[in-house]
Subunit: 217 residues, 2 copies
């Protein structure tokens, strides 16, 4: 429960993922002009239990008022701060194939404060072309451009075969966060965070569920 080195309580991965859910729900509630929200109602909206919501939030302090609930706007801001999304992140997209170019136009990223500032590809026909106001740069220019533009995160949407090679360069350029769409396990140093987005896996999960009449929980 408590980390022996830092003395801090350990936050589980699932708690972090749920914070994202709370954030989204609270953004909506704010638009619907809710002032406060109970753990029960918040749980209902995200298909969780009230106790879960309270436990999650209590990790970071006492935000609520007994008898009343949580103040929507304030809680939303607090969660933004915890998640580190109370600011703009500079992101680079590597690869402008199907997925890459779709993500460049994906408005949710922009909306959540992830600003795509650079786009790279190695295809001469794509280099120099315009994607949503951004010019595609040659991947050879990547190392110094990442530094010059203060890029902090990278979305990797390149074929699996070249992914490791490119990620090595990305790491070399000091990037510490990578969202990887290539279906491959990237090797990176311990201080670099990688999240793998594997869309086939989700379909496979559905396939399993239907095939086995799977009932979670």
């Amino acid at each position: 429960m408590v980390n022996r080195d830092t003395g801090k309580k350990k936050i589980s991965e699932s708690t972090i993922r749920r914070l994202s859910l709370y954030y989204r729900a609270l953004s909506l509630l704010e638009k619907e002009n809710y002032e406060t929200i109970s753990s029960r109602e918040l749980a209902k909206r995200e298909k969780l239990t009230p106790a879960q919501v309270r436990k999650d939030l209590s990790f970071f302090g006492s935000f609520g008022t007994r008898g009343l609930g949580y103040p929507v706007s304030e809680l939303k801001d607090r969660i933004a701060k915890i998640l580190g999304i109370n600011r703009i992140w500079n992101v680079a997209m590597i690869g402008v194939g199907n997925i890459g170019s779709a993500l460049v136009s994906y408005k949710e990223f922009q909306k959540q404060g992830f600003a795509i500032k650079l786009i790279f590809d190695n295809d001469q026909r794509k280099i120099g072309s315009n994607h949503k106001g951004l010019i595609v740069s040659d991947i050879k220019e990547m190392p110094h451009l990442l530094l010059e533009h203060n890029i902090e995160m990278v979305v990797l949407a390149v074929p699996a075969i070249v992914a490791q090679y490119i990620v090595d360069e990305v790491v070399q350029a000091g990037i510490k966060a990578i969202l990887n769409f290539a279906p491959i396990n990237l090797k990176v140093p311990d201080d670099v965070f990688v999240r793998n987005e594997n869309m086939s896996m989700e379909l496979e999960y559905l396939s399993f569920a239907i095939s086995n009449n799977y009932t979670p929980n």
Copy 2:
């Protein structure tokens, strides 16, 4: 541990997700002409523990040989059967915006046996146009076309505002599995499976990790 109704051991969501990982690793191993693989080696490739691999696999039977390991091709086929991916699934794409059209061209789906057979949109300019050999159909035609083409899964890539409305029609058409890209919690009957793909959430996780020097493990 054991389900009281069915007498079956309960399979956890994480086990299912790892089966997908094993499947991918085994496909690769097969190409590399491995005949057998030990839990230790398989674990190493997917950054898991050997015990974990053995526990997962033992849920479904005894596939291995003591002293030797698991037969690569056979284990791969077995997992395919368990996941229900030992056949082709008929899939429909709903929405041909950025994400939708990217996914129509996404080769991993095809490769894993998820065949996109129909594409829908409500935009008159898109209806009738050609995407990778498929003609975009009017979403009004959806109910009967889903039935006629024996569609079993649907990928939902439409704006959040219309997602619930469309999903209601999809459910009505008897679809039991939905991969949802809209950032919203869909309401569906208990026997319909929904997986949410939320790419901003992954970036938020990375944001949290960098901001807090988070160390999972």
